[in-house]
Symmetry: C2
Subunit: 278 residues, 2 copies
């Protein structure tokens, strides 16, 4: 039986490239066949797995320039049955794709907001007057180039090849070491590994965040990342997303999680996993 892997579509997105990379690795490990399924948004990609339409979802978590992909964090908190199976990191190189003869002819630029942000300085320098139009994905942006000689798009070189479109400049990302971390999400328990991700809310009392952080400190567990996200109820009311450099099966992590239940209002553990070697 083939494993259905959901990703942000259409064909040509960086999420698809990450899904292909994971799929190749999975096939080498388990000889299982996989089928990629594109979805129109990150939230729908994750909901497809939560609702059993797909087996796994490959979604971006954070970019080295722009930081967290907040949709992914917010949707993970909502779809709390999803567990992280694997992390993988992909280098991200953006290309400027257009049918225009010269860059001066470009009046509008289409891309996903994260890609536009990662190429902000390049756009400011070469296309300061262009109108910037957000699309649901980098690959979707390419559909606006049909028969339009004043439109440009930011997407991968791979996407340009797939759709047989000319690349005017590459790479155009402001920082050369641009990369994105992806998570593979599924309904089965996490496999374990040296990264653990969780999130919690705290009770509305002074010092409420202090206690959970003390729990990690006392158990000598290192936090590699901590991030506040609004609960969307009122300003100053947060969810805290934490990445631990530890495995939830370790005795000290088990002890910390047990104590965290007491020290938090809601605690959700999204699993322990490894990062796929590049």
């Amino acid at each position: 039986m083939t494993i259905l892997i959901a990703h942000l579509g259409p064909s040509g997105t960086f999420a698809e490239a990450a899904a292909l990379r994971y799929s190749t690795w999975l096939n080498q490990q388990t000889q299982q066949e996989t089928t990629l399924c594109p979805y129109p948004s990150i939230a729908q990609t994750m909901q497809a797995v939560a609702q059993g339409q797909a087996d796994l979802a490959v979604v971006p978590v954070e970019n080295s320039i722009e930081g967290s992909v907040t949709t992914t964090l917010d949707t993970l908190w909502q779809c709390d049955t999803l567990q992280i199976q694997q992390a993988l990191v992909l280098p991200i190189s953006h290309a400027f794709i257009t049918r225009a003869q010269t860059i001066d002819a470009v009046e509008t630029v289409y891309s996903h907001p994260q890609a536009l942000a990662q190429c902000h300085q390049w756009l400011e320098k070469f296309l300061p007057a262009a109108q910037i139009i957000s699309t649901n994905s980098t690959a979707e942006a390419l559909q606006y180039l049909d028969d339009n000689l004043t439109a440009g798009a930011i997407a991968s070189q791979r996407a340009a090849q797939l759709y047989n479109l000319p690349v005017l400049a590459c790479p155009i990302n402001d920082h050369p070491d641009n990369c994105t971390r992806f998570w593979v999400l599924g309904l089965q328990p996490s496999p374990g590994g040296n990264c653990t991700s969780l999130a919690f809310t705290v009770h509305d009392v002074p010092g409420a965040l202090l206690k959970p952080l003390q729990v990690f400190a006392q158990q000598n567990i290192n936090l590699s990342k901590i991030e506040s996200r609004p609960t969307k109820k009122s300003l100053g009311d947060y969810l805290f997303f934490v990445d631990l450099e530890a495995d939830a099966r370790q005795t000290n992590v088990q002890a910390a999680l047990k104590e965290l239940v007491e020290q938090t209002a809601t605690l959700k553990v999204f699993g322990s996993y490894t990062i796929l070697p590049t």
Copy 2:
């Protein structure tokens, strides 16, 4: 001499409304005259103060739905001479503004990415097929409505009045209790108050984030918010922005800051301040 207050322009933005609110308060307190100066981006608003072209900048820091305004945090880290003078919170109510006769006639929607995100569900429900176009500010979006009967914009009711444009629906934000926290930034030392904001980087060793968090815990200082932002060098390399519920003049905070210098790679304290009563 009039005090020059920079804000994201043009006239009609929420940042201008926040600047007006602060300006009224300042005038009541000190009888000083103020002049508002619009700038085309948040980064330019802050740089204007850092470079001495304006005395103060009023900039959004976080929204109750969408979370941090990352440009503000990233620019504050870069312009590290700026100190927080005051915080203020503004309720944010978005209006759908258009010259179209009915909503079905609207083909494109213009607004600032934060406003678009705050009205995401409304747009999905009423304008699922519309093209979404990002602008530098909500007020700037209104310039696209001139002579265009198929364009709509998301901005404040106040902006619609200023530009004499019809409001088709209001409020359209997905959460009714939508509000945004602003900072007033300047070059003079912060006045002190029960909120302190700072940011730091840590050395690249295991447990590096543990130490600074332990320092706050040991001094019984509550963190109300903690946020990782990429240093833009490599993935997993972060700045940590922290809001403390304490005044930097308190003895325990002084002790913590002294120890933090040892436990961090770079530490920047952006000052202690109060939140303006609404």
